[in-house]
Symmetry: D2
């Protein structure tokens, strides 16, 4: 098989950088073009400085869809829909969108929600994928087995701490090192935009579920990784819960259920998700750790590409953990 | 008035260090002795190295109670009770214990739980104070006004992130820089030992409350500060809640209710607690930020000493925030 | 004596914030006004959020010099000269400028270089003080005793690592948390603008010195504190060097010479400087640690104010170290 | 060709962990055994927790040399020599030692110093490799082209900042998070043990060089990466220096000379070294950034293994940078 030719739209941001890092080593894919309006003509490594020596590619101003089998849309939220509308993208070119724009089902939206642990078979058949949000990924993984078994009976209580890269590279008061170093804060409590896709997925599996999903997002003072804690009422035993989760994820190669108390750095720079369950009184607590830029964004996007093109899901995603 | 003569037992640990830092500048107190078995004879500044130039005191091996009006017990949990039992402490010497040992009411325990926002008048009359835990302080401050008004009706959902100094200076796998830097993890979920004193205080104000207090403690990768988020069902409006909290804390000089979204570094190196309330659907969320070593430990201990000796609560506690 | 009435010009930046934090607790000074064009009318604590509960002052648009005995200029470099030129500041109002503008001697510049360890007596007599740069302070303290004794004979090799607050609060690519966290980089090697004032001071003490001062400034990934290492040829013994430094700084209350290997956090949130000397072969190495916002900026500015007004140098500067 | 069978001795430490992370994805190598006395029988992923899901191997108590083509010695300094002496290692088994034990030339020491940019051809022929120290690697790379051209004429001034993983996983006062976070300190100034191997290499290329190499090692508050600055007298132009360095490293695939000011995170989690040169007056400054655990330890060890077995130097070392 010839290699998959990949185009990236919006190549200067964090998620595009991660895609490039992965795809440069992907044995079945090659970078056809990387578009960036503001950086056109410049070498990739001048923006993604760690890629010095890894690639001599330069950014292009305009995509040439005829060169690509698939394009990744890595522009900001709202810009993907604009781009798809404004451009005549051939139907033979697959699209993986990393923005929020197509995640929610709607009239005329033919994008499949790209969470392989929820929709793997549909992803394999689909030309258009809406790649999930980073919080949404880590959070849904704590809930899917319960929902699939129809065992959600009460409210869900979710707390999740994210690294600074989740907020992208645009400078802001909360991205300033002097402020964020050693600091903790909450934002968009109970109102985070990822609640939409989370609720949609839970109801896909357990349509009658109508309790609140309470979600407190926290800004941590690390750069990569999301730590999620979820708990809810669960009538069964811990063993039953563990069996449920192990069984649900048995065929999903990036998700692991562990008896050990997890930490975020176990998964940083990997596409893995590690889950851990505890039962306390009537509550089942499920923890998950993921890397927001990989399983929460670009790693999952490549996982989706692999599925779309009939490759093994893990191709190009055996990444060395940074560990420290 | 002559200055309060202070003795410190177990002077080499973090909380003792903070006590010394505060008391060196306290206008109404002076350090009579600082005991440390393992460091006897050595200058204080060899252990608390930032105190170079601030004091020439040396650690003593044995306390001489006759020199002190009050002693602070800064040994590990379990050791305070041993110490009080083994030593013949004159009844004229007040005791402020920073350990867990006397926080829970029990037959023969004459220590008053030293949370001024709960027990200020009793503290003023008491010779023996059990200083609250750091998590317990930040968490109780989010709950006291509701409990005092008898308005707790459902479970409490508490999530709190602490800095590394909360775990003391003994090295452990989770205190190793290479592991903790950039990392997040949970420990003792639903089982943290501070739940005992939290529950005791809530029931002191609202005796009939019998719902679960769900508490997930998180290890953050900062050194100082605790960020607490608490939420529960609340039938009133946000304005009513804010009024309730402002009214409850009106006469408590270290607690502030703010309309702005808070962050931990607002209070680091101060004895302050900042609270922030939001209403989402039927839920009232209360956030608090405190410094675990000050309002969560040694600052509060000095606040208690001030109360015991009839001083203004804030004496010696107008500390310069570090801010960054 | 009535309190010194202080005005601050440019009140929204980092150095102004630190001045306010110090002066709110200064027993002999009071804040008369805090000017900020962009924040006029807003409470101080909305910008310096850690000051919630500490002051109800608001920013003013225009300074009223008649209200103040001294003004601190905390605007950016280049703006102080503009301000002094554009405004008719009464000659009775003392000025302490924290910018670069008046540090170098020049025709018509009547500002005294405000390093008390170099110019204390002159500062006492002077109405106009140019407060030293942060790097410049930490570096000069490693050199002054040698220069005063005429013992500089060869090149000086200086390496200094600064925290992020040294670069102020304007966002930039190098202040972005995602970049700076866990990162190290060098800037303006051999060309840093503080070399001018450093050279000027060294030559004030040892006029014939004409060797290179090689200076490599490093961006660390902490927020506060400067670590300086300086070395040069020194013919004497270590003991002689230590005696020289101890003697030079004996009457300077913020500078300490220690036999222990120092670290930055010994001085963070204090106005102290800690020095440490080692002799290796023919080289004398002198290390210094200071807090760039205090001894390197606002703390030293208050020290200068104290001197100008005949107060004890340490008044209001017994600050609790943050230590962790 | 069948895969290289690899044994690791001392499998629980940081460098062993990195070796395993690399070798699990190395296309031409496979892990034959991982020895650890203290962890025998336990799964690898219980110690190196990020490897959960990547391997089911367990630690063995005793190595079986007959199973391996090469062994990596990852025990502490001093223990390698003990191990080699105590065990009858077949001469057909190649040895790569990551300790200090065999780096210095000595009677009876047949280990080749494993810096490929210095000794590539000899490494290819050698069964026994002494892998360089982490500081030593980053520092030598700044000096080799000058020494090879015989252009070192004066003292070398070296300053290098390392991450915490350079000190290994044993807990100590300087590895405690509460101390090290936000802190900077110097250790072993002018006396670091790596000076021996650095001097040896410089003299290998320029035998007559007899000036001082002044080296100040700094503990940074990051986990991975070494930033080196070196400067010395250089009579030529910057262009000449850049040509010299580019030419020297042209055939060395992991070393890059860049015109941009570098930072440590450009190379974290890679085997790359990035160099940058500046000329200031008569001084040439050379900066280098490397990952202390990869190019400074385990990555370089695999690079050496590749050379020993006739593979492309980069095999298995195209690692995804962590970048943030």
């Amino acid at each position: 098989m010839s290699k998959i030719k990949v185009g990236i739209i919006g190549g200067a941001g964090y998620t595009a950088g991660e895609l490039i890092r992965i795809l440069l080593n992907h044995p079945q894919a090659e970078l056809a073009f990387i578009q960036s309006s503001s950086n056109a003509g410049n070498p990739i490594y001048e923006v993604h400085r760690d890629l010095l020596g890894d690639t001599d590619l330069t950014f292009v101003a305009e995509p040439d869809f005829s060169l690509s089998d698939v394009i990744f849309l890595c522009m900001g939220h709202g810009k993907s829909k604009e781009f798809v509308t404004a451009n005549d993208i051939p139907s033979t070119v697959k699209i993986i969108d990393l923005s929020h724009d197509y995640r929610l089902k709607a009239e005329g939206n033919d994008f499949v929600y790209g969470l392989p642990e929820l929709n793997r078979e549909t992803i394999r058949q689909s030309g258009h994928i809406a790649n999930p949000g980073c919080f949404a990924t880590g959070i849904q993984l704590t809930m899917l087995p319960l929902a699939a078994a129809g065992l959600l009976t009460d409210e869900l209580h979710v707390h999740a701490i994210t690294g600074s890269t989740g907020a992208g590279q645009a400078p802001s008061s909360t991205s300033h090192f002097s402020w964020r170093s050693g600091n903790v804060s909450v934002y968009k409590a109970f109102q985070h935009q990822h609640l939409g896709e989370i609720t949609q997925s839970v109801k896909q599996l357990q349509p009658g579920y109508d309790k609140a999903i309470n979600f407190i997002p926290v800004r941590g003072n690390h750069t990569r990784g999301i730590f999620v804690s979820t708990y809810t009422e669960f009538a069964g035993t811990l063993d039953e819960a563990v069996s449920l989760y192990e069984s649900y994820y048995a065929e999903h190669p990036f998700v692991f259920v562990t008896k050990e108390n997890p930490d975020v750095k176990q998964v940083v720079n990997t596409n893995k998700a590690i889950l851990h369950l505890e039962k306390h009184g009537s509550k089942l607590m499920i923890l998950s750790v993921t890397d927001n830029l990989l399983k929460g964004a670009s790693g999952q996007a490549v996982q989706n590409m692999n599925l779309q093109f009939g490759l093994d899901e893990k191709t190009g995603l055996n990444l060395k953990p940074v560990s420290f």
